[in-house]
Each structure stands twice: as structure tokens, then as C-alpha cells.
């Protein structure tokens, strides 16, 4: 079955959507699609069928999001922890992924028509090479589309993602592109797998569990969290509307908290820059305190230089990541 579902909302759904869209709408929604196996148990199906139904529900949810003008969706498809499952189930899930990504490649025209950009976030080198290659092709094929974005977290955990971001910054230091003192919250965010996306406004977890399970821990620190008891394959348009209403109720207070955090972040960056200046001037001035104007000028120069270094580093990082995908694509051409 396809990733892209055509079809309009019915009248009642359309009216509800219009009512909701009168208020603030999330621009980026993340889903923890939990409950496929419990659904299979409930309906006396094989686990594999539960996961298939789960995929179908994902495609339907993307259709609803499109009609609700939600341009970006991130989903937790496969956690690094899931490798602990039985070989049979893991192979089944990887096979399903293989099928679905290959199907995606056949839908190139449709994806272009709808402007869908697919990104896959995770430690992809943990996956079998052939799956990595088909994923790479899908990502490269859609990378210039910009109407809507689907981020699939595969072989992903948040701690691995944060650690990888730290490793990338350390790599930048090794390459002489940035200094250790350039490390900041903003820079770490730019080094995450999700750096091309804004933070999710809304995180929805289905099946009644009330934990994050190592998903987007950094990015959802100031997101609206909604835990719903419905199993993922049974998710409905109305469940989605309910989650959006929760987002709208929380919108003002969360915006306020985000603003407060941004101000604190800016202050911390300023303090860090001032500390670097103070150290530098101390060395230069031979113990004599520098006047305020000199300090101010030094701060301005330092900030500009730091931002330039950071931009160069981020360009290099982007190039490294793009090369990873294009290399995988060219490997398939050679084989």
C-alpha cells in the first residue's frame, strides 16, 4: 500500500478541521506509533499484520495532517532498543521497511507532485547495507521537495542522537573548524539528525503508555505532550483533533516558557563570549584591566568570528552528511 493517500475529508471532518484551524496549529507533530502488537493480539492477527496496519495508519495520518495544514511530521518507526526483539520480529520489521522504502521509490512522481521530502534520522550504519542503500535513494530523491516533510526515525534513540551531535562537534574541533568554547546549546541543536527541522510543537504517544522511550528528548523539552490510550492502528481523525485541542489549550503557556528559555540561552551565550574575551584581554593587556569600549569592541569582533567559524563548520558537516547518502546511492549503481 502507498505512502500517499489521496482523498478529501468528509463534510464533518472538513468542518471540524476548519474550526480547529481558527486557532493556533502545530507546524510540526511527532508521533510515537505505539500499540501495533497489542492491536494484533486484540484482533487475533500475526504481529507482522499489526505492523502492516500500523504503516497504513501512518499513511492515513499523513493525509489528515496535509488537510490540517501541518507541514511536518516525525515518526518513531524503529528504536535501537528494538534490536533486542526476536530475530524473527526484527527481520520482519526490516523487511517491511525495505518493502515500504522500495515502494516509495516507485512513487517518485506522486512525491514530486505533493512536494514530499523524506528524511530518515538515526544511526543508519546499524542497518543492513541494502536497506541503507534504499533509504539513501529515497532521501536523495526527495531532498529538494519542500511542501511537506516526513522524518522517519529508524535505528534511533535520542541519547545516541545527542551523543552523535557531541561527537560531530568534537570532530569539528579536531579539524580545526571550531574551538571547544564555541560549543553551545544552539550549536548542539544544529548537529542533531533533526537539524533541518524546527522542534516539534506537539508530541503524541498512543496506546496509553506515558513515557518518551528515548524519543526526541532534546527537541521536545518545550513541546506539548499528549498521551492517548487508543492503539496506533485504531487511531482516528478525531483522536488527532483531540490532541490538537490539547496543543491549543497549552499554546500560550508553552510559548511563554519557550521565550523564557530562549532569553536564558541568549544570556548564557553572552556570558560565555564575555568570559572568552576577558581571558583573551587578560593575556593581551598583561594584567591591566581593559576599558569598557575596548571590551565592547573585542566582544563584537569575537562574536562575528565565532559565528563565521560555526557557519563554516556546519557547512562541512552538511557536506559530510550529504556525501554519506550520495555514496550509498552510487554504491547501488555500481553493484
Amino acid at each position: 500500500m502507498s505512502w500517499i493517500r489521496e482523498g478529501e475529508l468528509n463534510l464533518l471532518e472538513k468542518i471540524s478541521a476548519n474550526i480547529l484551524m481558527a486557532g493556533p496549529m502545530p507546524k510540526h507533530v511527532a508521533f510515537i506509533m505505539d500499540g501495533n502488537r497489542r492491536f494484533a493480539l486484540k484482533k487475533k492477527l500475526e504481529r507482522h499484520d499489526g505492523h502492516m496496519q500500523g504503516f497504513n495508519k501512518l499513511a492515513e495520518t499523513l493525509r489528515w495532517c496535509k488537510h490540517l495544514n501541518i507541514p511536518e511530521v516525525t515518526v518513531y518507526a524503529f528504536s535501537i532498543e528494538n534490536f533486542k526483539r526476536s530475530k524473527e520480529e526484527v527481520d520482519g520489521l526490516l523487511d517491511l521497511a525495505r518493502q515500504k522504502f522500495e515502494r516509495l521509490l516507485e512513487e517518485q512522481e506522486n512525491l514530486e507532485k505533493h512536494g514530499v521530502c523524506i528524511r530518515v534520522l538515526g544511526d543508519l550504519n546499524m542497518l543492513p547495507l541494502d536497506l541503507q542503500e534504499v533509504i539513501a535513494k529515497a532521501v536523495v530523491m526527495t531532498k529538494n521537495h519542500n511542501k511537506c516533510f516526513l522524518n522517519v526515525c529508524f535505528a534511533y534513540t535520542s541519547r545516541y542522537e545527542i551523543t552523535n551531535a557531541v561527537r560531530e562537534m568534537a570532530w569539528g574541533v579536531e579539524q580545526g573548524l571550531i574551538k571547544a568554547s564555541d560549543v553551545s546549546e544552539a550549536l548542539l541543536s544544529e548537529c542533531l539528525y533533526s537539524s533541518n527541522s524546527p522542534n516539534p510543537d506537539l508530541l503524541i504517544r498512543t496506546s496509553g503508555e506515558v513515557r518518551l522511550s528515548d524519543f526526541l528528548l532534546w527537541q521536545t523539552s518545550h513541546s506539548c505532550l499528549v498521551f492517548q490510550s487508543v492503539l496506533w492502528p485504531e487511531y482516528s481523525f478525531w483522536n488527532l483533533c483531540e490532541a490538537i485541542v490539547q496543543y491549543q489549550l497549552n499554546h500560550k503557556s508553552i510559548q511563554k516558557a519557550r521565550e523564557l528559555h530562549r532569553e536564558e540561552q541568549a544570556l548564557q551565550q553572552l556570558e560565555a563570549d564575555c568570559a572568552c574575551i576577558a581571558e583573551h584581554l587578560q593575556h593581551q593587556g598583561n594584567g591591566k584591566p581593559a576599558d569598557a569600549q575596548r571590551r565592547q569592541e573585542a566582544l563584537q569582533h569575537y562574536t562575528v568570528a565565532r559565528e563565521e567559524r560555526v557557519q563554516d563548520f556546519l557547512q562541512a558537516l552538511k557536506h559530510k552528511r550529504d556525501t554519506f547518502f550520495t555514496n550509498l546511492c552510487s554504491e547501488t549503481v555500481l553493484t
Partner: protein, 288 residues
């Protein structure tokens, strides 16, 4: 048309807010009402009731109608709290109390801390995203000691009150006599700590002491525990209508269960116990 949708949307949100407020009000009312109802029924019906049961119910009623605890039945409560803790299938080692409300009540949070300790929880973290508790930690500490005497009769040894402050290299705390630990956290202990750890690692790389390839999840994890020395919170009780963690320890909450309570003002022991029961019943598959 857009105007009409806008009006309906405002009405919808107003209805949801009213429903929420009503449910909250009923929750508090039923709790106090249940106690008085029982007493009145007993008085009216004059039925012979097993004395122990009535005493227990009376203690419940006293407690629920008088959240702060005025000392009545104080003798029975600590032992009841301990037995409650033992009765649960599993008890969190570390509970986070996240207050997502603008106005803070030190007394109510102090009560929650004391109840957590009494039930057998080893670590309690208190957090608000403005960092107000951390700025006024001495007031909170005083309040906790005060409520501890109030609720536990002052027999128990004082709790260790450790302040989580960045930059200071506190000596390692060894829990010798199983005294519970209270930590007061702020947003600085969240993302900012992770950034500091990252900076530290990058400095080591700059000095060629480490290579970027040496950086792994366990290395970062150890670094994030070094100055804090607390296990991950298994349960977070969030107070307030805001459905967000508001920056609370992002690294440490990967497997944390979240329970929401409408407010920390006039919170009762039963509210906490309900959250603990929920935690006890949940089943973590850990990816499997």
C-alpha cells in the same frame, strides 16, 4: 465564514476548560465530602462498625480534609505510609516533582517531599522552569524540615538537603545510613548541563587527550552524573495544566513515567499514592 469558525473554536476551548475545571473541583469535593459523608452516615445510622475500620476511615477523613496535617492521628500515619510503600509491587527510587504553575506553594511541595520519603523513595527532585525553588532553596529547606516535624512527629533523622548547583565540584555523597536525598533543580541542570559536558569533552579533544571517536553514550552518561550523582527519575509527577516537561532533565527522562495532577496547591497524600499506584502498575518493555 472564517469569523463563524473562529467563534465556534473559542466556544469549544471554553467548554473544554469548563469541563476540566469542573472535574478538578469535583475531585477535591468528593474527597472531602466522602470523609464527612461517612461520619454523618455513621452518626445517622448508628450501625455497629468494626472499631478499627472506623478509626482508619476517620484517619483518612482527617487527612483528606486537612491536607497539611494538624497532628491528629500523626502516630498512625507514618507507619501507614511505610506499609503503603511496601504494599506496592514496585516503588520508584527517584521521583521528580515538576511544578508547571506560576504561583508556588512551598508548604505543599514540602508535604509532597516528606510523603515521598515516608513511603520509601530514596531521591526526590523538585523542579520549576523559572528556577524559583533553586533561588529560594533555603526557604524550601526550612519548610521541608517544618513539615517533616509536623507530619512525622520529628522523630526521624533530618533529611539530607543537597542543592544542585552548577560549577561547584561537590565531594561525592555516600548514602551511608539510607537517608533520603532531596535535590532542587532548575533548567540549568537540563540542556545547559549537557552543553557543559559537551564543552568539557571538546576541550579534552582540543588538548589531544581524547579523540572524537572515543565519545560514546556511556561516556556522556557518566559525565552527566559526575556532579549530580542521582539515578534517572522513574516517575515524574507534574503539577499544573501545562502538558510539557518544560526543560526538566532531558537526558535523564528517557524511560520516565509521567503522571499529571491538576495542581500542587492543597495536594493530598492520596494524590501521591495514586501516582505511585499508577507507576507500580505500568510495564516497561524496554524496546522488546
Amino acid at each position: 465564514m472564517a469569523l463563524l469558525y473562529g467563534l465556534i473554536w473559542r466556544l469549544l476551548l471554553a467548554l473544554v476548560r469548563i469541563k476540566r475545571a469542573t472535574v478538578s473541583w469535583l475531585r477535591v469535593r468528593l474527597r472531602t465530602w466522602k470523609g464527612r459523608f461517612w461520619q454523618r452516615t455513621m452518626a445517622a445510622l448508628l450501625l455497629p462498625v468494626p472499631v478499627a475500620e472506623f478509626k482508619q476511615k476517620k484517619a483518612d477523613a482527617n487527612q483528606s480534609s486537612d491536607g497539611d496535617g494538624d497532628g491528629k492521628g500523626a502516630g498512625s500515619r507514618p507507619s501507614r505510609w511505610i506499609s503503603d510503600g511496601i504494599s506496592l509491587e514496585k516503588l520508584p527510587v527517584h521521583i521528580g516533582l515538576v511544578v508547571a504553575e506560576e504561583e508556588l506553594s512551598y508548604t505543599d511541595i514540602a508535604n509532597m517531599v516528606v510523603w515521598c520519603m515516608a513511603v520509601g523513595v530514596s531521591y526526590v527532585s523538585v523542579y520549576d522552569h523559572h528556577g524559583i525553588f533553586q533561588k529560594n532553596n533555603s526557604s524550601l529547606q526550612e519548610e521541608i524540615v517544618k513539615q517533616q516535624h509536623h507530619l512525622l512527629g520529628g522523630d526521624d533523622s533530618t533529611f539530607n538537603m543537597e542543592l544542585l548547583k552548577n560549577g561547584t565540584d561537590k565531594p561525592q555523597h555516600f548514602v551511608v545510613s539510607c537517608r533520603p536525598i532531596v535535590k532542587v533543580l532548575s533548567p540549568e541542570d537540563g540542556k545547559h548541563s549537557i552543553v557543559q559536558a559537551a564543552r568539557k569533552l571538546c576541550h579534552s579533544v582540543e588538548k589531544k587527550e581524547w579523540s572524537s571517536k572515543d565519545i560514546s553514550v556511556s561516556v556522556l552518561d557518566v559525565l552527566l552524573r559526575e556532579s549530580k550523582n542521582i539515578p534517572d527519575p522513574e516517575l515524574v509527577v507534574k503539577f499544573g495544566a501545562v502538558n510539557s516537561t518544560l526543560g526538566f532533565l532531558p537526558w535523564h527522562i528517557r524511560l520516565t513515567e509521567f503522571v499529571s495532577l491538576p495542581s500542587h496547591k492543597n495536594v493530598s497524600y492520596e494524590d501521591l499514592f495514586g501516582a505511585l499506584q499508577h507507576y507500580s502498575a505500568c510495564h516497561q518493555r524496554l524496546g522488546q
